[in-house]
Amino acid sequence: MFKSIDPRSPTPLYAQIADRIRVAVASGELSVGEGLPSVRALASQLRVNPATIVQAYRDLERDKIVEMRQGSGTFVAALGADARARERASAAGRFVRQMLTQAARQGLSPADLRSALDRELPESK
């Protein structure tokens, strides 16, 4: 699930980890009440500073995506359908912004991107 963590990206690691979990919760990949790995286990798996994981979990708790229960761990919170939709929309927004930055760097225009999207996306109806 965290294969895509990239320390070289300008997005801080804690934000990348939190974003990945947000998407997993919004898409149902992680279900309500499911436990997240402990700070120590996830820090060790990703070889990042434990404080980075704590910060990611705190961000998610602030946004009511997870609940941190003293002594027993971090769990996926119940998320209403509209909150779920909001998370998906904002994840998609982040993704598109990244794409736009990269495209601009390579000199691609919005029109280039739009026609490429039309070609690549499967027919919607």
Partner: protein, 302 residues
């Protein structure tokens, strides 16, 4: 005590060629401090001075509240040290090495040593001289982590190890830091590894510490700018200019340190415009910082 290591005005000289000069360093308690610098910049010498293994010519060193070298022995009891050249007795087995080492440390944790030995897949009766480089590296790490040290000083701990072993070693290190709230001082030129783990960065070059700051600031403060109609630089730049290169008649590329979004206005007032702001990763920042430090015409850093 809020700082585990405090060094001020440190000086040391070896012949005419190499010197540590005016070195000041502060490692806060609980930090994972990445000590970066090119080969020959003085990282290992600084570590040896810090641990009382070399006498300084001038300056003060305090480690875990003890003045070094006078009370280095008191600090060393609480430090796990993995030197650049692994120090193991070739004629001992893995088990004998562990028992030898534990005799020097009163808090040595036998259960932890055994757990790590299994985790690192080291055989008890294996002779040290038969260990591969990676296995020897794991054994040194096992010894340092089993001491229940408050401070780990690791000099290139993963240099020359294969990626699988590097992961095992770093994973064990991260778990240790989380369970014991230890401070780690880790010297390495493997910048990408530091980028994941460290929350503080110190950069050495030519025997001087040219930068010391939290990782987040280091990463977010150094930017590459594309500037059109670039102004001449007086003394009054709000940032430190590390380098500038002209791309064509209108555009220049600047690398700056201490960048804040409001600084765009400084360019506008000078009749220039910032066309693009690029983030640099740690490796690029590191390279640019060294380049800046070596060019006398640019602003002094720190």
């Amino acid at each position: 005590m809020t700082d585990v290591i405090r060094i001020r005005d440190l000086a040391w000289r070896a012949g005419r060629e190499f010197a540590i000069r005016e070195l000041a360093m502060t490692v806060p308690t609980g930090a994972i401090y990445g000590f970066l610098g090119p080969n020959g910049s003085g990282k290992t010498t600084t570590i040896r001075l810090m641990l009382g293994m070399l006498p300084a010519e001038d300056g003060t060193i305090e480690v875990l509240g003890h003045s070094v070298p006078r009370y280095a022995h008191r600090a060393l009891e609480r430090i796990g040290y993995v030197p650049e050249r692994l120090h193991l007795y070739q004629g001992l087995t893995v088990d004998e090495s562990i028992r030898f080492h534990r005799a020097f440390y009163k808090d040595f944790d036998d259960a932890e040593a055994e757990r790590l030995r299994k985790r690192f897949a080291l055989r008890e009766d294996q002779l040290v001289q038969r260990l591969s480089k990676g296995e020897a590296g794991k054994l040194m790490m096992l010894l340092a982590l089993s001491q229940r040290a408050e401070l780990l000083v690791l000099d290139e701990p993963t240099d020359g190890l294969d990626p699988v072993i590097r992961r095992e070693v770093l994973g064990a290190l991260v778990e240790y830091v989380d369970s014991r709230k230890a401070t780690v001082f880790i010297s390495s030129h493997l910048v990408h590894e530091q980028e994941r783990i460290c929350d503080w960065v110190g950069v050495m070059d030519g025997g001087r510490l040219i930068a010391e700051l939290p990782m987040q600031e280091f990463r977010s403060g150094i930017k590459r700018l594309r500037v059109s109609q670039a102004p001449p630089v007086g003394d009054a730049t709000p940032f430190a200019l590390l380098s500038r290169e002209s791309l064509n008649a209108q555009h220049e590329e600047w690398v700056v340190r201490g960048w804040q979004p409001e600084m765009r206005e400084w360019f506008q007032r000078a009749g220039a415009d910032v066309r693009e702001i690029q983030d640099l990763d740690l490796e690029e920042s590191f390279v640019e910082l060294l380049r800046g430090a070596r060019t006398p015409s640019t602003t002094e850093i720190r």
